[in-house]
Amino acid sequence: MKKFDKERVLLAVAGPVIALAVAFVLSAIVLLASGKSPVEPYALMFEQIGFSDIQVLVINQASMYYIAALAVAIGFRMNLFNIGVDGQYQLAAMMAAVVGAHMNLPAAIQIPLLLLTAVCTGAFWSGIAGVLKVTRGVSEVVATIMLNAIATSVIAYLWLPNVFGVKVGNNNTTGEMHESGWVPGIDMGDAGEIYGLVFLAVLLGIGYWVVLNRTRFGFDLRASGASESAAAASGVDPKRMVLTAMLISGGIAGLAGLPILLGDTHTYSLNFPTGIGFLGIGIALLGRNSPVGIAFAALLWAWLDKASPELDFHGYDKEIAVIMQGLIVLSVVVSYEAVREWGLRRQQRRVGAELAAGHVLGADNNTTKEVAGR
């Protein structure tokens, strides 16, 4: 039995490692083709890991990537593609900013209220796609993409000065939030401050794992993703499951912008980070929808983001990091599928071999260790 456990670890690690190796090699080729050193940019970027201010930036950025990727991953686990995380988190962050600017309650109530506002806004926005899919059969991919575009327009409308907008110079903002809604960070001295809501990201990751692997609901959700027909036959109501998963995905997505909103900017302005939802898709893919995998992937992405500006000072284009992110996603898709099939076939052969050798369960009871869920 130990053998199969090791096998699982090997398979889990092989995919990302192959993908990363391929992506790094391909990026090196791109560098070579543009007549630059294929090694030095990596050296420069690795050097950045050692600086504590970069470390803080990476952790802060990764926390948002992590939450967005979890939102995508929960959809992936049941074959739902929530492409709309981007619109959901932006709209949710804006609503939280608006509530934070217009209500002033004690922090113990204010902060949960803001979190709740964001969750509800995100869930509402993704819920539209969920309802459309369940009642009218509209593909959630199409619906959520459209909702992204609509979210952008809604945000532009809410920014109007006669709605919730406050002009600060040329910038559109929602006005400064009341201080009771600010989440204090961890002061790292000169290196900066780690957002307090980084811990929310960690909690969400733990919650995600517990719900998926330890609850009946999580089992139903995973079963729906593994085989819709088998799940239906097992008693899962497919429509209700689609709607629930969309709502949860959107609810988590709503939180993705809050670490920076409540920890740093305290207003929703034109400078608010965009595109986190789309990056979350790639990160969820690279992390294989596992909470630990996604954490590593989010840190990797954040590192590529925050270490690449240094390249500009040495005559390289920092866009090489973006190229690399793209190449990673491409190689991930290919290598995971290859590794998955290889693993399945390999296990089939091994089971065949073990049976032929007479290693049948019951014949020898050395099966004490089990691995729970994936």
Binding site: R214, R216, F219, S227, A230, S234, G235
Partner: protein, 483 residues
């Protein structure tokens, strides 16, 4: 089979075609060597015509136009396949589809045909027609590898028999000198299982009562109409019928995947017509699905997760809203041992088990929840003889303890042997009933094509098959028109 067709590489040993040693790395290599495969599950595109299906992927051979059509007609006539190139595949019956599959293989120039369980989906008359086709192919100098677990068929069609058990050749036999019993003993390795149920255990306590059940397709066409039956505790009700005549819909309506448009279903004395699937399963309806890969298993999940599937709300799998992994895993081990599921452990994926072992796991899982009513759709399809006997034993044992069973099967011997009562389904209606003690597979077969209705009496004087000469001559089986 997979190795012969190039889908898998052998670890050891050699394959020789026409005395020449070969190695295949893909099905394409096998096709080049003249090996063609007719799969158990047809690989045809429903919305394309026969012609389009045949040329698909081999457009280079004879193009896609008149030349291809000529070639198809020529092959069809030469081997008496009776294929019409311009019909849509979705209009064809199972037997006709199978002939298209055979033609597809011949079109690609195959000289060796592998047929994987080709008779599983056919009624006896169609089986005879298929065998005539095979003899035709043989006469033209082609070789046929015929894989089947039905002994009578193998004995009647084969020139030489090789018996494989658990992945090794256990012997060869010459049909003329072998009795079905000897062959079966070779296959099982010990005593022969029979599906006969010893004594009747039927009680007068109705467990499931279906009354005037009707299910409509989107356009209002009846998929099931006026279905009425009662199954008592300790009774096995067998449903015979050519596939696609409403069996799948009947099962879906009983387990709650589809909801009846009219009519009622009662479980003991509760009406369950409006219940959802989960409630039905919790209340004691066990379900052995027709297609275990689609409806019974999560193939890439470990065995213990598959043990939870379908019973996630029940003990020992759950405590409140939480899963009880330890208990579920322990119970999986119990099932694996009690039902003789051959596996090195419960952490391997369901996909890595053989079909028979997957099925034993499903049977074990369903039986573990002490169902009151069991839906068994093709419980031994694609299952080896040993597992088949075990599954029959489990069904019989549960029947003795008062289980009501709805048995749907294409294996008429199994139906006749296990059932206490037999009904025939045709075109969504229960058209005939029969006494399993006296009826023969041939008589049942003709009712399945709609030729006989009402109560079927066994006729001692009838020549076997004498009542179906037209069916044998006609290349299009009658169910084609019925669709």
């Amino acid at each position: 089979m997979k190795i012969l067709y190039g889908m898998q590489k052998p670890d050891e040993g050699t394959i020789a075609v026409d005395g020449q040693q070969v190695s295949f790395s893909s099905p394409a290599d096998a096709i080049v060597r003249g090996i063609g495969m007719v799969h158990q599950h047809f690989m045809l595109a429903d919305n394309l015509t026969v012609l389009e299906n045949v040329v698909l992927g081999s457009e280079k051979l004879y193009g896609i136009g008149a030349k291809a059509r000529r070639k198809i007609t020529e092959i069809s006539e030469r081997y008496g396949l009776g294929v019409q190139p311009d019909r849509l595949v979705e209009e064809l019956g199972v037997a006709a589809r199978q002939r298209v599959e055979i033609l597809k293989v011949l079109y690609r120039g195959a000289t060796t045909l592998i047929l994987d369980e080709p008779t599983a989906v056919l009624v006896p008359q169609e089986v005879d027609a298929l065998f005539d086709n095979l003899r035709e192919l043989k006469a033209e100098g082609l070789s046929v590898i015929f894989i089947s677990h039905k002994l009578g068929e193998v004995l009647s069609v084969a020139d030489e028999i090789t018996v494989i058990r658990r992945g090794t050749t256990v012997g060869t036999a010459v049909p003329a000198e072998t009795t079905p019993r000897q062959l079966a003993e070779m296959m099982v390795g010990s005593e022969l299982p029979t599906p006969e149920t010893a004594e009747s255990t039927v009680t007068d306590r109705p467990v499931i009562t279906v009354d005037k059940l009707r299910l409509e397709a989107a356009g209002g066409k009846a998929l099931l109409d006026d279905i009425t039956f009662t199954i008592h505790a300790g009774e096995v009700l067998g449903i015979a019928g050519v596939e696609g005549n409403g069996q799948t819909e009947l099962v879906d309506a009983l387990i709650g995947l589809k909801h009846a448009d009219s009519g009622t279903i009662k479980l003991v004395d509760e009406e369950i017509t409006g219940w959802v699937t989960r409630k039905r399963r919790e209340q004691g309806i066990g379900y052995i699905p027709e297609d275990r890969h689609r409806h019974g298993l999560l193939l890439e999940a470990p065995l213990w997760e598959n043990r939870i599937l379908g019973h996630v709300t029940e003990k020992p799998n759950a405590k409140g809203v939480w899963l009880d992994l330890k208990a579920a895993q322990a119970d999986t081990r119990r099932i694996v041992e009690a039902y003789d599921v051959r596996t090195p452990g419960i952490d391997v994926t369901a996909a890595s088990l053989s079909g028979g072992n997957q099925q034993k796991l499903i049977v074990g899982r369903e039986m573990s929840h002490k169902p009151r009513f069991l839906i068994a759709a093709h419980p031994t399809r694609g299952v080896d003889v040993g597992a088949q006997a075990a599954i029959w034993d489990h069904i019989r044992e549960a029947r003795r303890e008062g289980l009501a069973v709805l048995l749907i099967s294409a294996d008429l011997d199994e139906l006749i042997g296990l059932s206490d009562t037999l009904r025939v389904i045709y075109n969504g209606k229960l058209v005939a009933d029969a006494d399993p003690a006296t009826i023969t597979p041939e008589e049942l077969g003709s009712a399945m094509t709609g030729a006989a209705t009402g109560h079927l009496e066994h006729d001692e004087n009838a020549e076997p098959g004498a009542d179906t000469p037209e069916i044998r001559k006609s290349p299009e089986a009658p169910e084609d028109e019925a669709r």
